[in-house]
Symmetry: C2
């Protein structure tokens, strides 16, 4: 864990508030990961010097003692261990499967191009341009897949990831759960304007009780809840402690599950007025989905999405001690399968002849949320954006929208260019403010390049 | 946990020594599961009264407190919780994936028949015959798939399992690891006649040091090691404690991983003389495989077997705190995929045009091990059988051989009849001696029926 000095130094920097919670253990330790540590030789870590294969984490039978990342290890999600751990969530906490079903694998057509690595873009705030190829390492990328017109035009892996591996999706999870939530609203299983307490009476006394399902979906709930990792009293720490599946210390008296924790979150401010990016909203949505359908979130995800993708691999959620999937950030999947989700969004919910998701659901997400509410959250780097159904909507000319997760996870969908970019990463800094400068303009440059502009 | 009286009553009964270790937690608690407990109303449990859906384990968001099976719960693998837990290993301990690869799913042809349920057989020691349909519940079956000529002729699920679920394979794991071991011997990566210490110097001081790889593969090592769950000093308890991934108690001073435990096992008797069914042999084989290939057992399994099956689903192993797969019993997979393995064995290692496993490897297993060595182990119900490469070989007229795991797991391969039977179960009694009487004659009857005899 970093000392108070390290954290203080970090939090003195101007920052973007787009910090989210990855997973129970990760949340506990995100503070550490937020600090850019130095490598053993004192120089800043690079993709090469932090490569988990080079560092030898968990290699050998047994691995050398100093290269073991042990189950329950509070250091597991600190950098540079993070670069191994993001591919091995299932070894580090209990999980729950999301089946790929019994359907055939749907092959991704391949029309690979060699010109993308040389595409140049201007990182925000930098004096020199950078190429797409250079951005791969600059962002500590573990894997990136670019689809154009439904075909793979670029695919590259590094670090702990390969095409068969599965990686922590961090807060991309939220967008997948949001998608399920929007589908259930469209079906009338959930009512957008109904208060949460109508479906979950246990939340009546919490901030969520009189919030509407729509406010949860768009994260405009008014919560007395902080995700400021620098504050030891912040709600995010209690959330993480509640969700940690390891047996609780004998003197622990707090909430013991995600559901118990959510009931403790109190209201502050006016519901629906301002966007506030808080992981607990997605955990409430996961609860709403489970309660309304009578199924686990993993089952809903499998039935409605994962088993209909023609996925290469099953996916999984990390879970708390009673098996509740971490809806706010616990999803893990293969990168190609994440790209398949992006293509499904791009294709307005159709796979072949099957309408897997109602087109209106995707159009609703793509149209975005209230921009005024979003503006009140003060994202300097995402001015003009909005948030809808747990997706980030740019409102640019191409209608681009995204799923975003800490440490550089992203799923970029550019409808006008017909481009999907799925990326998993293990950037030393959790908050995407740190990598957006070499991420968003790079995605935009690739999209425009493929669009022929 | 059952009281000492319950255990004493059990162990006074004559029993078959074919008791194996399922998983770290399961091993810790197999003693409990060995006792046939009564249902709440005092009558013996039946498949119906113990159905996990009826009992409501882990249903609801959250489940009722008295129906929660919590992570780390020492009761998780006691009956009747066992009937839920066998399908949810990943929620109960850390795991490590075995990828299905990126290959297309290979469909299993279907020629379903309705006549099998009525096939009658004579259970051993019973006065009345039983039908195949009745045996399903009598054996607390969670799922069974029968292949004939490569096609599914019968498939049925109950309890916690369906076609997309994954179930603890218990000691079927041994046969899969044994198969990999035999493949590596055939390739010369492992030397059958070399002592284990030649590959794993750390084991030089243990019973395994001067045992040969062949003796490990055929479990004819001479070990001062007991799998008698009734003896609190038995090695199996230390093995389970070492492999348990939960943080160790502060006063714990024993071995902390599988590898550490294996180094403590001492020799007793003459190597190679008698078969002795001891899970630790497979854990040594797993170590041999990892050390010789430089890969995790999960990677070897994925590369050489699971990614070549055209599997529906990825599989996984439970692991100890440092991520070592539990080679002796930690595998979990879908039932159809287990049936695919059986068909691959039946087809002498070919899938389509590809020779996935050398035919000689499978012929070697099928030919069996030393019957005299097996006879010295004193299995009353398996007279005339032998053990080779961690498979049980019947030496009957059809050349039938099996993988067997506690609580009724089995993979039955009848080459002459062209029949594969894959079954997952959650029988209240761990040792297969208790269900063999309604299992082995049932399999034989189905095979002969399909063979037209």
């Amino acid at each position: 864990m970093p000392g108070a000095n390290g954290l203080a130094a970090l939090w003195k920097q101007p920052r973007d508030p787009s910090v989210s919670t990855p997973s129970p253990v990760a949340a506990l330790l995100a503070a550490a990961a937020l600090v850019q540590p130095g490598a053993a030789d004192g120089r800043p870590w690079t993709a090469a010097s932090s490569d988990p294969r080079t560092l030898g984490w968990m290699q050998g039978a047994p691995p050398p003692a100093e290269r073991v990342i042990v189950f329950g290890d509070p250091q597991a999600f600190t950098f540079p261990r993070l670069r191994w751990s993001v591919c091995h969530t299932d070894q580090l906490m209990p999980t729950r499967a999301v089946s790929r079903g019994l359907t055939p694998v749907r092959p991704l057509p391949r029309r690979e191009r060699t010109d993308l690595d040389a595409v140049r873009f201007q990182p925000w705030g930098a004096s020199q341009p950078m190429t797409w190829g250079q951005a791969f390492d600059a962002n500590f990328t573990d894997g990136v897949v670019v689809l154009h017109g439904g075909a793979v035009v670029y695919e590259r892996y590094a670090g702990c990831l390969g095409p068969t591996g599965r990686h922590a999706a961090m807060s991309l999870t939220k967008s997948l759960v949001g998608l399920l939530g929007e589908m259930l609203v469209a079906e009338g299983v959930l009512q957008a304007d109904a208060p949460v307490r109508a479906t979950i009476p246990e939340l009546a006394g919490s901030a969520f009780g009189d919030a509407t399902v729509r406010q949860v979906l768009d994260m405009t709930t008014a919560l007395d809840y902080s995700e400021d990792y620098a504050d030891p009293e912040a709600g995010v720490w209690q959330h993480a402690a509640a969700g940690n599946a390891l047996p609780k210390p004998s003197d622990y008296s707090g909430p013991r599950t995600y559901f118990e924790f959510l009931q403790t979150v109190q209201r502050k401010g006016e519901q629906g007025r301002a966007f506030g990016y808080r992981t607990v909203n997605t955990d409430v949505l996961g609860w709403l989905i489970s309660r309304a359908t009578g199924q686990s979130l993993t089952e809903v995800m499998a039935e409605r999405l994962w088993s209909r993708l023609g996925a290469d691999a099953g996916a999984f959620f990390s879970v708390d001690s009673i098996g509740t999937p971490f809806a706010g950030g616990g999803f893990n999947a293969s990168l190609r399968d994440m790209a398949r989700v992006g293509q499904l969004m791009l294709d307005e919910g159709r796979i072949g002849d099957e309408q897997v998701i109602p087109a209106a659901v995707i159009r609703g997400i793509r149209a975005g949320g209230e921009r005024a509410a979003f503006a009140r959250a003060g994202y300097r780097q995402l001015q003009g954006w909005s948030y809808r159904g747990m997706w980030w909507v740019s409102h640019d000319a191409n209608g681009t929208y995204m799923a975003r997760g800490v440490h550089g996870q992203s799923l970029w969908i550019d409808p006008a260019a017909g481009v999907v970019i799925a990326r998993f990463a293990s950037h030393p800094v959790a908050g995407n403010a740190d990598n957006d400068a070499t991420t968003l303009p790079a995605y935009q440059a690739i999209s425009r390049h493929l669009q022929g502009r």
